[in-house]
């Protein structure tokens, strides 16, 4: 725990965007109240020891705007988000909780669409909602619907996945194109209003991770690259593992249309949210077979090896650009967009 004081006096949108200000809120305020050896790791899921078994436990809240977007809705987002956070530990998800905060006047027809989306994902992943809650607030006190989910799962004894296992020589894999989710959300925000064929990549990645684990026991770290984008995850993992990593820009899949939209809006795809992308650190000797297993999965057809861990270090992420130049990827202050997930 650090000794830095939290100096802000009001909550600003940047406290919720997954960038530097979010980090300050967590590290300099929340951990001061609640820090412990498990929470302090700030991993997507906590790993608890319970009578000799390890349980993964995670929670998340969803406030995405708009609630319906190309490729999904807030319901699909919430269960996929929690499933993906769980599987970064290598666990088999067991059950999900589901809580709603509903605004008075929210249409039941819209609510039913969201419930159907959730049900579809549960069916796809063979999971159940086992507990939940519903609250209704007066009109204007919430924006249509907010969702909170939590999830648990058991981790097999022979699976140990943690940033601390990352070592020099590891290869870094990614299961497909970046920035699709953020771009899809932007396209239907009133202030942008542009037409695009891009849809959110929102997807449950439990089967993808399962396929990877069935071919290799040398997967060292997994992280889903949500808000803050791919760059933020690479930065966090490099820092957490105290290694330096090399990333090859020409290997990172970016759809042409996404690239064009980002250029036009002055945004960097590396920092834009995803909701169906898993970053994988794996021993170099297993990289090819893990890659092949990913490509066979419906959520990994465009998988690539995007980089490697070079050495123990201070956590530098070096981007080798398409031009053959190099620069350091850093956490950005506040990239971009509120209520992206």
């Amino acid at each position: 725990m650090n000794n830095k004081k939290f100096k802000d006096t009001i909550i600003q949108l940047s406290h919720g965007d997954g960038g530097i200000k979010t980090g300050e809120l967590i590290n300099n305020l929340l951990l001061k109240y609640f820090g412990n050896e498990i929470l302090n790791r700030l991993e997507d899921s906590a790993v608890l020891n319970c009578s000799g078994k390890r349980i993964a436990y995670t929670t998340d809240s969803f406030v995405v705007n708009p609630i319906f977007f190309p490729g999904g809705d807030i319901g699909k987002l919430s269960v996929c988000g929690t499933i993906n956070d769980l599987v970064t530990t290598g666990c088999s998800p067991l059950a999900i909780s589901l809580s709603f905060i509903l605004e008075e006047g929210f249409l039941i027809s819209d609510f039913k669409k969201i419930l159907s989306s959730i049900k579809e994902i549960l069916y796809d992943t063979n999971l159940r909602i086992v507990t939940g809650d519903t609250k209704v607030v007066e009109k204007g006190s919430a924006d249509k619907i907010f969702i909170n989910t939590s999830g648990i799962g058991f981790i097999d004894n022979d699976i140990i996945i943690s940033p601390r296992k990352i070592k020099a020589g590891d290869k870094i894999l990614l299961n497909g194109s970046i920035a699709d989710h953020g771009t899809a959300i932007l396209s239907c925000r009133k202030e942008f209003n542009f037409k695009t064929s891009i849809v959110s990549d929102c997807a449950p990645l439990s089967s993808l991770v399962n396929d990877m684990l069935s071919v290799s026991k040398k997967i060292h770290a997994l992280r889903d690259a949500t808000r803050g984008g791919l760059a933020s995850i690479l930065f966090e993992l490099a820092r957490a593992s105290e290694t330096n990593i090399n990333i090859h820009e020409d290997k990172i899949p970016v759809k042409k249309e996404v690239h064009g939209i980002c250029e036009f809006l002055g945004l960097d795809p590396l920092y834009i949210a995803n909701e169906g992308k898993m970053v994988v650190f794996v021993d170099r000797n297993d990289a090819d077979k893990v890659l092949q297993s990913m490509k066979k999965n419906k959520y990994g057809k465009d998988s690539q090896i995007i980089g490697e861990v070079t050495e123990k270090g201070e956590g530098l992420v070096i981007l080798n650009t398409e031009l053959g130049t190099r620069r350091v990827l850093d956490l950005h202050y506040s990239e971009q967009l509120p209520r992206i997930c």
Partner: protein, 356 residues
Amino acid sequence: MKKKIKELVEFLNKNKTDHKINIMEVCGTHTMAISRYGLRQLIPENINLISGPGCPVCVTSASDIDLIIEISRQYDVSVFTFGDMFRVPGTESSLYNERSRGRDIKICYSPADVLNFAKNNPDKKVIFIAIGFETTIPLTSVIVKRAYKENIDNFFIYNIHKLVPEALELLLVDKEVKIDAFLCPGHVSAIIGSKPYLFIARDYHIPCVISGFEPLDILESIGMIAKQVKEGRSKVEIQYKRVVREEGNPTAVKSIYEVFEKSDSTWRGLGNIPESGLKLKEKFLKFDAKSNFPVKEINSSEPPGCECGNVLKGIKKPTECRLFSKICKPENPIGPCMISSEGSCAAYYKYEKFKI
């Protein structure tokens, strides 16, 4: 792409001179692209790229930010701004902080949207912060003409538009600034054409190349400059031929001067530059926010230690500012150059803070 890059780098090395050449890239978007793509790693060592004042947010004075904030505090108005202005610090606050405190300040992406908002909300007084160089001024002029035609009386502009060529002339006479060539802004030039830069080549013997924004565009433009310098020429050339014509866009220019006329303007870091700004013509003065929402004079000041002025003139690189990265960071910007999406300090902080 790698093959083309190789060719351009070879061309640059073929036209290398022995002495140092300072090329000022005027436009903030060029500054960002140069840093983002690491172009400094590809050009010969004798070429020094220095960033200029072509970032409209960066050259907005603290007093303008303070005035806008004061208007939002004193009057019941809805203020619309481009996202970039949002976090720029004034003397003691920013639009972002004011929004967090409950003022009605929103981000917009197009002035047309702001006018539509005004139309659809006739009970609100709506102010659009009209900022930008010649690229965006035509759009403001079209919107003002539309507001006039449709008699929309609850729409106003806080006008801080500025003109680029006049600022370049100031830099040329400044003894502190040593510029050997200009990389001229692509989209401003799409509006004004290449003729407004002729005086630079003719009277000051300084080459100018109007460049596009892709890394290949920028490398090719630097190569064209290097060739001119080696051959002892000083001309205005257009590299960005797919967008820029010599005569520019006369229709857009005509629209600008239907609505505006030139006036003096204060540029942060450069001071007052005669005829470098615009004011609304009398016919359209009813849309002027400053006169419709008068506020008492504010004691504005630049933050102590801030070197944005020297960075904007190309006298210092961002890394040479004592505050850079130590106190002045995007999460705590002391000056606008650190927080603008086209700011030199923002570019260096994002992409060149660490030397590999």
